[in-house]
């Protein structure tokens, strides 16, 4: 097991070494200083968020905001146009007799033992539409 040298052994060893021609690679000093003082030796990186980057980020944000505003505006405007023109009412009035007719037909088919798939589908779609219109109508109330 190798032991560390005593002080006397170390001094003798140093004397022996100094009698020889000593050598060290030339790049060692720079590498040591780089490790000991890294902030000063590292090249300065370009600052993030420079002038051009700021402008492009700003315009990007503007575009996003404009898109959001347009989408929200469409959500508000289109249903209100539909409400003003009474589309919802027209639908119920217009479809009313049709629905009754379909109901009558469905009733007849049930009596006959059959099922009107078309009627069921249309009925479900109508109900979904009514719910959507009532929900959009509530949004318009907040205007």
């Amino acid at each position: 097991m190798r032991e560390y040298p005593t002080d006397e052994e170390l001094m003798l060893f140093i004397e022996q070494m100094e009698q020889r021609e000593l050598y060290a690679p030339g790049h060692l000093k720079a590498e040591i200083l780089k490790q000991a003082f890294p902030e000063k030796t590292v090249e300065a990186l370009p600052k993030p968020g420079g002038g051009e980057q700021r402008i492009s980020l700003f315009t990007y944000r503007l575009k996003i905001l404009a898109g959001m505003a347009a989408a929200i505006a469409m959500l508000m405007v289109i249903p209100s146009i539909g409400a003003e023109s009474g589309y919802g009412e027209k639908v119920t009035k217009e479809n009313g007799p049709q629905i009754k007719t379909e109901q009558e037909e469905a009733g007849r088919e049930e009596e006959e033992g059959g099922v009107n798939v078309n009627f069921l589908f249309n009925e479900n779609m109508r109900r979904a539409n009514e719910r959507l219109n009532s929900w959009v109508g509530r949004i318009n109330i907040f205007e």
Binding site: P5, Y23, P25, K29, I32, L33
Partner: protein, 174 residues
């Protein structure tokens, strides 16, 4: 001699200029491995820099050489070393093993061995390794000479070093 309380960059540079050859030679003498000696030399000066506060200012040379010697011995003791330690005392460890009776110039010996190892590398690593280790050019100078970017040269130096370390490691195992 009045010792500074803090080791500044200029003070560290001064210490390196004074003792780098002695420290590297000690590390190379004890390990016989150029790259291990390089790493140990760096560790020695960095340890001296970090522990400068605790140094009492008496016999700076002995203090730094003590760090270098102990680090080299720790390196030899580490588990990765294939060679089984036989020597019991420090002086037995430092007996000249490379056979020639006359004084061998350390620089020549190191550079001969490096040259042989560099020639085993594939291009462009062999050229970069020769320029860096044998001609002792800086990465900036090598980049200017070869017309490449400094980053490319630094990467190639790093890779060449890894390959050379492996070559040296294999040689020691044999």
């Amino acid at each position: 001699m009045v010792k500074e309380a803090v080791c500044t960059e200029s003070r560290l540079a001064e210490i390196i200029d004074t003792y780098d050859k002695l420290v590297f030679s000690i590390c190379y003498k004890l390990t016989g491995d150029y790259f291990a000696a390089e790493d140990l030399t760096q560790e020695t000066f960095l340890a001296a820099f970090q522990k400068y506060d605790s140094f009492d200012g008496d016999n700076e040379k002995a203090w730094i050489c003590r760090i270098a010697t102990n680090k080299s011995i720790d390196y030899l003791r580490s588990a990765s070393r294939r060679s089984v330690p036989v020597e019991d005392t420090f002086f037995e460890l430092t007996v000249e093993e490379r056979g020639s009776p006359e004084e061998i110039c350390m620089e020549e010996e190191i550079k001969d061995e490096l040259a042989k190892s560099c020639d085993t590398l594939k291009p462009p690593y062999n050229q970069v390794a020769r320029a860096y280790y044998l001609e002792e050019l800086s990465p900036k100078e090598i980049a200017a000479k070869q017309g490449k970017s400094i980053k490319t040269i630094q990467t190639q130096i790093y890779r060449a070093r890894q390959m050379l370390k492996r070559i040296y490691g294999k040689g020691e195992a044999e």
